[in-house]
C-alpha cells in the first residue's frame, strides 16, 4: 500500500471499539499507531500506579472516557489499610489542564475528595458520566458540586461507596434545566433526601432509565416515581416497608402492574416479608434481581417471589433462600446466567443455610450459568464434579466455603479433585476463587488446564512452594494473583521473576515470604513496584538487619513510572 489516506484509516478504525483490538492495531506500523492514538476516546487503566497522567495525555490526547482502578481487590475485605493510596487527584488535575472535552470518569476503589469533584464539575463543560464504585473520601458536598455544575450530566452512579452524608440538599442542586439524566444511583447514601425534590427531578428527566434510591425514600415516594418515570428499566427501591392493607400498597401495586419496562430490580434495603407481594406484577419481565441487601426474609417468601420470575438472567440473593430455594430457582429460572449467593450470617455457628446440594441443583437446572459467586457451609468433590459436568460454560467461578480449610465432609479429602474437574471442564474460565482444604494438587490442575485464567484468588490453601509455581508456570494469561494465608515462600516468589511483568499485580499476605525475598525481587526487576505494607511499624527506612523477618503484606505490580510518590509511611517500596 503506497498511499492510504489517514482519514480513511481513521474511519475504518472507528469501527474497532474493543481496547484490546485497538492495542493490537497500534502495533502494526507507525502510521497506524499515530492514527489509532489520536482516535482513541476510551481508555482503561487497570492499575492507576502503572502509569501516570502525563503519559496518558501524551499517548491519547483526545481521551474522553477514563476508567481507573486503584486499590487491590483485597481492600474490599479490609486487608489493605485505609490510606494506602489510590488518589485520583493528579489524574483530574492533568485532565483538567489538557482535555477540556473530557466526558466520562469511572473509578473503582479510589480515593476521591470533594475538592476534586468540584474541580471536575467546573473544568469539563461536556461532562456526562460519573461512575464511582467502592470509592471513598468524599461527601455529599462533592455531589452537590457535580449536580450544580455539570449541565449535561447523564449518569451519576454511586455503587457501594463510603460517602460522608452531610445533608440531603445535594439533590436540590440539580438545576431546573437538568433534563438529560439517564441514570441516577445513590443507594449507598445513608442520609435523608428531600423527597419532593426527588419527585420533581424524576418528572423533568423523561429519559431516566436507571434509578436506584437509598434507604431514606419511602414507599409512597417510590409509587409516585414509578408513575412518572415511564422509561425506567432498572429500579432500586429504597425502604420497602408498607402495610399490605394500606392504600399506599394498592397504589404501588397498580403502578407496578402498569409498568412494562422494568427489567432489573434491586434495593430492598429495608423490607419485611409480607411486603414483597407488591412486586409480583413486574416479576415476569425481570431479567435481573438483587435481594442481597435484604436480610430477614425467609426462604418461603423468597421462593414465592422467585416462582414469578421465569426470565431471570441474573440473581443476587442471600443464603436464607436455602438449598430448597435454590432448587426452585433451578426449576424456574432456566435462563439464569449469573448467580451470587451471599452469607446472611457469616460469623454465626454453622447453620447450614446453603450447601453443595443447592449448587448441584442449580447446575442441573440452569445450563446457561456462566458466572457464580457462592458462599456455603460445605462442599464436596462429588458435587463439584457434577457441577463441572453440567455447566461447562463457566467464565467466573468463585466459591467460598465459610470455614477456612474445610475438607470434603463425606470423605475428609481436600477439594483438589472437585476444583480440578471445574478447571478441566470449563475451558473458558477467566476468574477463579478457591477455598476449602486444598493441597498442591489443585494448583497442578489449575496450571495444567486453566489456560484462559486471568484472575486467581487463593486463601488458606496449598502445602508448599510448588503449588504457586504450578500456577505461575501454567497459566499463561494470568493477570492478577492474590494469595492470603498460604505457605508460599521466597522460593516460589523468586522462581520466575519475569512472569510478574506479564501480570498486572500480585498480592501476598500472611505467607512465608521474607523481606530478603522481596528485596531480591525488587533488585532483579526494576520495572516492578514491590510494596511492603507494614501497619504495625512506622519506620522511616527499611531496617537493614531484619531480612529474615516475614513480610505481612506484599503487593507488587508492574509500572512504567517507578515508585509512587504518594505512598504513606507504612508502605515501603523496595
Amino acid at each position: 500500500m503506497n498511499y492510504f489516506p489517514e482519514e480513511v484509516l481513521e474511519h475504518i478504525l472507528d469501527f474497532v471499539t474493543s481496547n484490546k483490538e485497538r492495542n493490537a492495531v497500534s502495533l502494526v506500523c507507525k502510521t497506524w499507531y499515530k492514527v489509532e492514538r489520536e482516535s482513541r476516546y476510551r481508555v482503561f487503566i487497570g492499575n492507576c500506579y502503572a502509569t501516570n497522567p502525563e503519559r496518558l495525555i501524551a499517548r491519547f490526547p483526545r481521551v474522553k472516557s477514563l476508567t481507573l482502578k486503584g486499590k487491590p481487590h483485597f481492600a474490599d475485605f479490609n486487608l489493605v489499610p485505609h490510606d494506602w493510596g489510590g488518589f485520583v487527584d493528579p489524574w483530574i488535575k492533568t485532565l483538567a489542564r489538557a482535555c477540556p472535552g473530557f466526558e466520562e470518569l469511572r473509578l473503582k476503589r479510589m480515593v476521591v475528595s470533594d475538592e476534586i469533584l468540584e474541580l471536575l464539575s467546573k473544568s469539563f463543560v461536556n461532562f456526562k458520566s460519573l461512575v464511582l464504585v467502592s470509592c471513598d473520601g468524599f461527601s455529599t458536598d462533592g455531589l452537590a458540586a457535580i449536580a450544580a455544575n455539570c449541565r449535561y450530566l447523564r449518569e451519576l452512579d454511586l455503587q457501594e461507596n463510603e460517602v460522608d452524608d452531610r445533608s440531603g440538599h445535594w439533590l436540590s442542586c440539580f438545576p431546573e434545566s437538568c433534563t438529560s439524566l439517564v441514570s441516577l444511583n445513590f443507594a449507598c447514601l445513608k442520609g435523608e433526601i428531600n423527597l419532593s425534590v426527588l419527585e420533581r427531578l424524576v418528572a423533568r428527566n423523561p429519559n431516566l432509565r436507571s434509578l436506584r434510591l437509598n434507604r431514606a425514600v419511602p414507599v409512597e415516594t417510590l409509587q409516585k416515581i414509578i408513575t412518572k418515570a415511564h422509561r425506567l428499566v432498572d429500579l432500586g427501591t429504597g425502604s420497602f416497608i408498607h402495610d399490605p392493607k394500606s392504600e399506599t400498597y394498592q397504589k404501588l401495586k397498580n403502578a407496578m402492574s402498569k409498568c412494562e419496562s422494568i427489567r432489573s430490580l434491586s434495593g430492598f434495603l429495608d423490607v419485611a416479608p409480607h411486603c414483597l407481594t407488591a412486586v409480583y406484577p413486574i416479576c415476569p419481565h425481570l431479567t435481573s434481581l438483587n435481594l442481597s441487601y435484604a436480610p430477614g426474609i425467609n426462604s418461603n417468601e423468597l421462593i414465592k417471589l422467585i416462582r414469578h420470575c421465569r426470565k431471570l438472567q441474573r440473581l443476587w440473593i442471600l443464603d436464607c433462600v436455602g438449598d430448597k430455594g435454590l432448587g426452585i430457582v433451578a426449576a424456574t429460572c432456566k435462563e439464569l446466567e449469573e448467580l451470587r449467593v451471599f452469607p446472611s450470617d457469616p460469623f454465626g455457628p454453622g447453620n447450614a443455610a446453603v450447601t453443595e446440594e443447592g449448587l448441584v441443583a442449580i447446575s442441573v437446572g440452569c445450563h446457561k450459568l456462566h458466572s457464580l459467586l457462592y458462599f456455603c457451609q460445605q462442599m464436596t468433590n462429588a458435587a463439584l464434579i457434577t457441577i463441572a459436568k453440567n455447566c461447562p460454560n463457566f467464565i467466573r467461578f468463585r466459591l467460598c466455603i465459610l470455614d477456612p480449610a474445610k475438607p470434603d465432609p463425606d470423605t475428609m479429602d481436600p477439594l483438589d479433585e472437585g476444583f480440578g474437574a471445574i478447571v478441566q471442564s470449563c475451558k473458558r474460565l477467566r476468574r477463579l476463587s478457591i477455598s476449602g482444604l486444598l493441597s498442591d494438587k489443585v494448583f497442578l490442575y489449575i496450571g495444567t488446564y486453566a489456560e484462559q485464567l486471568e484472575m486467581l484468588s487463593i486463601a488458606f490453601a496449598g502445602e508448599s512452594d510448588k503449588a504457586m509455581l504450578y500456577v505461575l508456570n501454567g497459566c499463561k494469561k494470568l493477570r492478577k494473583l492474590e494469595i492470603r494465608d498460604c505457605p508460599f515462600g521466597n522460593m516460589a516468589l523468586l522462581a520466575d521473576v519475569g512472569k510478574y511483568e506479564t501480570m498486572r499485580s500480585l498480592w501476598m499476605s500472611s505467607c512465608e515470604v521474607t523481606l530478603q525475598g522481596c528485596k531480591t525481587l525488587a533488585r532483579l526487576m526494576p520495572k516492578l513496584n514491590v510494596e511492603i505494607i507494614n501497619e504495625n511499624d512506622l519506620w522511616d527506612e527499611i531496617p537493614a538487619d531484619d531480612d529474615r523477618k516475614k513480610v505481612e503484606k506484599m503487593y507488587l505490580y508492574r509500572t512504567l513510572v517507578g515508585p509512587r510518590q504518594d505512598a504513606p509511611g507504612f508502605v515501603w517500596t523496595l
Binding site: 483485597f74 481492600a75 474490599d76 475485605f77 479490609n78 486487608l79 489499610p81 485505609h82 490510606d83 494506602w84 471513598d136 457501594e160 461507596n161 463510603e162 460517602v163 449507598c188 445513608k190 441487601y293 436480610p295 430477614g296 451471599f342 452469607p343 446472611s344 450470617d345 457469616p346 460469623f347 454465626g348 455457628p349 454453622g350 447450614a352 458462599f375 457451609q377 460445605q378 467460598c400 465459610l402 470455614d403 477456612p404 480449610a405 474445610k406 475438607p407 465432609p409 470423605t411 475428609m412 479429602d413 482444604l437 493441597s439 484468588s457 486463601a459 488458606f460 490453601a461 496449598g462 502445602e463 508448599s464 492470603r484 498460604c486 505457605p487 515462600g489 500472611s510 512465608e512 504495625n536
Partner: protein, 373 residues
C-alpha cells in the same frame, strides 16, 4: 484411661525435650482396641525443619490410618467422639495433613477445651487444625460432633478479612442476626457504619487497658473483637462483674454468704447506668464513649475507664485544674524568658512561671468548683 492420661502428662515434657532437628514419630498404641481389621500401629510423622529454613511443616501420613481412639495423647480428648466416627466411617481415610502454619488466628476453642499445656504455638495450631478436621463432620449428625462444631464455630473469633465479603454486607448480616435482641440506639450506629471506612482499624487484636473505679486490678480488652458499643458494654460487664462483686465482698468484711449476687453492669455507653465508660485518646483527652461511630472510635482509643456516673463531673473539674496548670506552664515559662530559649531556663524563672500558672489555674478552677459547672 490410664495410659492416655499418662501420655498427656508426658506431653509437655516430651515436647520440651524434642530437639528441633530430628524427625518426631508419635507411636499410637491402640489401648482401646476397636480395630476394624487395620493395623494396630498408626504412625504420624511430624518433621521440624532445621533452623534457618522457612520452618515449613510437612506431615506424612499413612494413608491407611483410620480415625479411632487409638490416637496420640494430643488428641485424646476426642476419644469419645472418635468412637462414633470410627463406627460409621470404617473405610474412610485419615484427613490429609492440615494447614496449620497459618491457622494461627483461630485460637478460641482449642484453648477453652484443651488443658493449658506449655506447648509451642505451632503445636497448639496443630491441635487446632486437627480439632477442626475432627470436629467438622456435619454429615455425621452425632450430638457430640454437632455440639463441638457449634462451640468451635461460635467461640472462634473471626479471621481478618474472612469470609471475603464487603463491610456493609457484614453489617447487614449482623443486624439481621441481632435483630431480635433490643439494640435500640446501637442499631442506628451499626447501620451508619454499614458503609464505614474499611481497613482502618482491623488490626490483629487491638488490646487496650481498661480500669474500673474502685477496682485496683485492671484488665485488657480486645477492641477488634467487637463491632459495636453494645457488644463492648456486654464484654466489659462480663469482665468486671466478678471483680466488682469480689471487691464489694472484701470491702464489706469478707462477707461471702451470697457469692452468686453479682450486679449486672449496664448502660455503660448511654449514660443510663450506674457506671459510665470513658476513654483516653491519643491526645490524652478523656472522652465519653458513644459519641462517634464505632469505626472512628476504635483507632483513637488509648485506654478505657469505667467510672461511676455520679462522680463523672467532679473528675472533670480536677482534670480542668490539672490541665490548666500543666498546659499553661510551658508558655508562661517561655514568656518570662522573653522568647529566647538558649540553653536552660534559670531555676528562678521556672519557679516564677510555676507560681503564676498555679495561681491562674486556681482562679479558674475554684469558682467553677463552687458552681459545679
Amino acid at each position: 484411661m490410664e495410659e492416655p492420661s499418662k501420655k498427656e502428662e508426658l506431653c509437655p515434657n516430651l515436647l520440651d525435650l524434642i530437639p528441633k532437628d530430628i524427625e518426631c514419630v508419635f507411636n499410637i498404641d491402640g489401648d482401646k482396641q476397636r480395630s476394624h481389621g487395620s493395623s494396630d500401629e498408626k504412625k504420624l510423622e511430624l518433621r521440624l525443619s532445621p533452623p534457618g529454613d522457612d520452618h515449613r511443616w510437612s506431615t506424612i501420613h499413612n494413608p491407611k490410618i483410620q480415625r479411632d481412639e487409638s490416637l496420640p495423647s494430643l488428641w485424646y480428648h476426642y476419644s469419645t467422639t472418635q468412637s462414633n466416627f470410627s463406627n460409621q466411617h470404617q473405610q474412610k481415610q485419615q484427613p490429609p495433613p492440615p494447614k496449620f502454619s497459618f491457622l494461627q488466628y483461630q485460637k478460641g476453642p482449642a484453648v477453652a477445651m484443651e488443658s493449658s499445656q506449655p506447648c509451642s504455638r505451632r503445636m497448639v495450631d496443630l491441635r487446632n487444625a486437627e480439632k477442626k478436621a475432627f470436629a467438622i463432620n456435619p454429615a455425621n449428625n452425632t450430638a457430640a460432633a454437632n455440639s463441638s462444631q457449634k462451640r468451635a464455630a461460635a467461640a472462634a473469633p473471626p479471621v481478618v478479612g474472612w469470609p471475603p465479603i464487603r463491610s456493609f454486607r457484614k453489617n447487614i448480616a449482623s443486624s439481621c442476626s441481632l435483630g431480635k435482641s433490643s439494640l435500640g440506639p446501637q442499631c442506628t450506629i451499626t447501620s451508619e457504619i454499614a458503609n464505614g471506612k474499611p481497613g482502618k482499624n482491623l488490626r490483629k487484636g487491638l488490646l487496650v487497658k481498661i480500669n474500673m473505679e474502685a477496682v485496683p486490678i485492671g484488665r485488657k480488652i480486645d477492641l477488634n473483637a467487637y463491632d459495636n458499643y453494645e457488644r463492648l458494654s456486654a464484654a466489659i460487664d462480663e469482665l468486671f462483674r466478678g471483680l466488682l462483686a469480689a471487691q464489694r465482698d472484701s470491702s464489706a468484711g469478707g462477707n461471702k454468704e451470697k457469692p452468686e449476687e453479682k450486679t449486672v453492669i449496664t448502660g455503660l455507653c448511654d449514660g443510663s447506668g450506674e457506671y459510665t465508660l470513658v476513654y483516653e485518646d491519643h491526645e490524652g483527652d478523656r472522652m465519653l464513649v458513644g459519641d462517634v461511630p464505632w469505626h472512628m472510635f476504635v483507632p483513637n482509643v488509648k485506654r478505657l475507664r469505667v467510672l461511676k456516673t455520679s462522680k463523672l463531673f467532679t473528675l472533670n473539674l480536677d482534670v480542668v485544674k490539672v490541665r490548666s496548670r500543666v498546659g499553661l506552664y510551658d508558655p508562661l515559662k517561655i514568656f518570662s524568658v522573653g522568647g529566647l530559649l538558649t540553653g536552660d531556663v534559670s531555676l528562678f524563672q521556672k519557679i516564677l512561671a510555676a507560681l503564676i500558672t498555679g495561681a491562674i489555674a486556681i482562679t479558674i478552677a475554684n469558682p467553677t468548683d463552687l458552681v459545679k459547672v
